[in-house]
C-alpha cells in the first residue's frame, strides 16, 4: 500500500486542491492557505522520491528548505495582505483589480 505511486497520488490530490483554492477563493488569506497546500504537496513528492529512490536524505533536506521558504513566503504575503487591507479596506481579491487599469 505504501508505494511511490500512492504517495504521488496523494501529492497530486493535495496539489490540485491547493490550486483550486488559489483559483476560486475570494479571500486573500484563503488563497494563501491554498499556496500552503501546494507547497505541502511538493514536499510530499520530495520526501517520497527521496525515500523510494535512494538511501540518501536529500529529499528530506530539500523539503526542509521548502518549509523555510514557505515560512518566509507566508510572513511576507501576510504583510502584503495586511497592507492591502489597510489601503483598500478589503481582502477580497476580485475587488483588488488595479492591474486592470
Amino acid at each position: 500500500m505504501i508505494t511511490l505511486d500512492s504517495c504521488l497520488i496523494i501529492g497530486a490530490a493535495l496539489f490540485t486542491l491547493g490550486f483550486l483554492a488559489v483559483l476560486t477563493k475570494r479571500n486573500a488569506i484563503s488563497v494563501l492557505m491554498g499556496v500552503e497546500l501546494i507547497l505541502n504537496a511538493a514536499n510530499i513528492n520530495f520526501v517520497a522520491f527521496g525515500f523510494f529512490r535512494s538511501y540518501e536524505i536529500h529529499g528530506v533536506l530539500i523539503a526542509l528548505f521548502v518549509i523555510v521558504i514557505a515560512v518566509s513566503e507566508a510572513a511576507v504575503a501576510l504583510a502584503i495582505v495586511l497592507n492591502i487591507y489597510r489601503n483598500m479596506r478589503t481582502v477580497n481579491l476580485d475587488e483588488v483589480d488595479s492591474l486592470k487599469k
Binding site: 488559489v22 483559483l23 476580485d94 492591474l99 486592470k100
Partner: protein, 689 residues
Amino acid sequence: MTLLYLAIIIWLLPLLTFIIQIFFGNRLPRKGDWVVVGAMFIDLALALVIFGNVIYKYNPDFRAVLQFDWISLGGQDFPLGFVLDNVTAVMLVVVTLVSALIFLYSIGYMKGDPLYSRYFAYLSFFAFSMLGVVLFENLFGIYICWELVGLSSYLLIGFWFEKDSASDAGKKAFITNRVGDFGMFLGMLIVFSALGTFSLEGIKNGVESGQLSGTLLTAAGILFFMGAVGKSAQFPLHVWLPDAMEGPTPVSALIHAATMVAAGVYLIVRIVFMLTPVSTVVIAYIGGFTAFFAATIALTQNDIKRILAYSTVSQLGYMMLALGTGSYAAGLFHLMTHAFFKALLFLGSGSIIYAMHHALHAVNNDADPQNINNMGGLRRKMKVTFWTYLVATLAISGVPFTSGFISKDAILAGTLSFAGRYPQHFLLPFFGFAAAGITAFYMFRLVFKTFFGEFKISEAREHIHESGKIMTVPLVGFAVFCFFAFYTAGNNSISLSSPGEGWFYDLIKPPEQTAMTAAEMPFSEEIYEQEELPAEPGASHSYAIFLSLLIVGAGIVVSYRTYISKTISAETWAAMYPRLYRGMYNKWYIDEFYHATVIKLIFVWSALCRWFDNVIIDGIVNGSARITVIFSWFEGKFDNIVIDGIVNGIANATQILGWFTRQFQTGRIQNYLVGFLIGIFVIIIFRMM
C-alpha cells in the same frame, strides 16, 4: 681626440649658461651677464688652446672625428658625429673671439634694458647653436643647429618686440631662412636616399665611388646652396638681412655680420666635394651678382646699419663667388677677415648710435639716430671709435696692409684666372671688381658723412661723448685683427701681400674636388681640362693686385671728391639717372615684388582654402542635411495623407479588437491563472493528437 672633447666642451658651455640664464638670470647679481660673458671668454681660451695645437701640429690633414648613435631604427640608422679639423679650429676661434668681444660690448650697450638677462640668454643660445654648426660632422646635425641659429636670430631680431618693425623683421628673417632650409632639407633627402648616410665622410666616399652623380648630384649641390643662400642672404633671399638690423646693434654685429650669415659659406666649404661644374657655376654667378647688386643698393642708403647690412650681403657674395670659382681657401679666408672687420664696423656704428641716441635724447630731438645725414664731424668727439672705424673701412675697401686686402685680392685673382680659362664667364671678374670699387666708394661715403664735416644737429653737439671703456676695448681688439700680419705669418716668413705662403693656406687645403672631376662640364666641353680645374690664384695674382688697387683707389678718390671737397655733386648724378637712383634707393623693389607675388598668392590661396572649407565642404555637409530635412517634409505630407489613412484604419480595427480582448483583462490574477491552465491543456491535447 682630446682636442675634440675640448671642442665639445666649448660647444656645451653656452648651452649651460643659456639654461642658467633663462631660469635664474633675473635672480643672479648683475642679472647674470658675467656668467655668460665669463663662459664665453673661457670658450675663447679653450678655442685658442685648440688653435695653438693645430698650429703646432701644422698638419693640413689633421682630422678627428667622433661618431655616436643617435637614432637607430633597426634598418635605417642616423648616427651623429663631431669633427675637428683645421677649418673647424679656425672657425672656432673666429666664432668665440667675435662672440666674446661682442658679449663684452653688449654689457655696455644693453645697460638698463628691461630684458637684460634674457638678452644674454639668447646670446648664449646663439653661441651654442653656431658652434654646433661648426662642429657637427653630419648634415643632419648641421641642419639642426642651422635652424637653431635661425631661431636665435629670430629671437634677437625681434628682441624689442614691442616695435612692430622688429617683430616683422624677425618673422621675415625666419621665414626667408625657412625657404632656404627647405632647399637644404631637400638636398639632404636626395643625398640620404642615394647614399643612406648624412655623414660628410660617408657622402664624400659615396660621391667618389659614383653612387651619387649626374643631375641628382647637381640638384643636391644647388639645393644645399639654396640653404646657404637663405642663411647668407644671397640674392634672391637677401631681403631679410637689411630688415634684421632692427635688432640690437651688437646682435647685428655678431649674428648678421660676422658669424651666422657666414654659416652659409661655411656649409658650402663643407660640402664642396659634392659640387659639380654646373652647381659651382650657379654658386659663382649668384655670389658675384649678389656682391655687385647689394653694393649698388648700399650706395644710396642713409641708415648707417642698413649700409653695413648691404655691404655684408655684398661681402658674402664675394665669398660665394670665391667658392664658385674654385678659390676654396680664399672664400674661407675672406670669411674670417670679414668677420673681424665687419664686426668692428657694426660695433663702431653701435657706439655712434649709442652716442647719438643719448645726445638726441638729451635735447629732446626725435631725429633718427641712425641716419648718416644727421651726423658729421664725430671724429673729434669720438676718437677711438673714429680710428678703429677707419681701420675697418680700409680693410673692407681692400687697402694694402689690411686683412681685407689680402683676402679680397685672393678672390679677385681667383675670378680672373677662372675667367681666363673660361672666357664665357667674363662677367664674374667684372662683378667682383665693380663691387670692389663701389664698396670703397660707399664705405668712404659713410666715413666721410659721419666723421668729417660738421655735426648737422648743432644743439646736440655738446652731448656727444665717446662710449665707455667696456665698449671701446672690443673696438680696439677687433681693430688689431684688421692687420695683415696675423694671417700671412707662415712657417718662417711673413708675406706682405699674398696669403699664399701663410699658415692659413698651408693648413686649409681644398679637398680633391671629386664631383668636379667625376662629372662632365656640359656647356664647355672643348675648353674643359680636368687637371686645370682646382683653380688657385696663380699667375693672375699680381695682375689682380694691380687692377684692384686701381679700382679701389678710384672709388676712394671719387668718394673724397664727392663728400669732402664737393667737386662732384651726388645730387646731380642722382638727378641725371632718376630711375637708376630710385631703383637703388628702393632696393630694386625686391620686397615689393615679393609682397605682390609670393606673399599675396599665399594669402589669397589660404583664404581660398578657408572659403572652400566653409562654403563648399560644409555646404555639402549642411546641404545634405537640408535635403534630408526637405525630403522628410515631403515624406511627412505623404505620411499624413496616405500612410496615415492606412494607419488610422488599422488603428480603428485594432481598437475594436482591443475592446474585445480587453474583456479578458480583468485585473484578477485568478482569472489569468485559469486561462493559463486552459492554455496548457489545449497545448497538451494538441501534442497528444
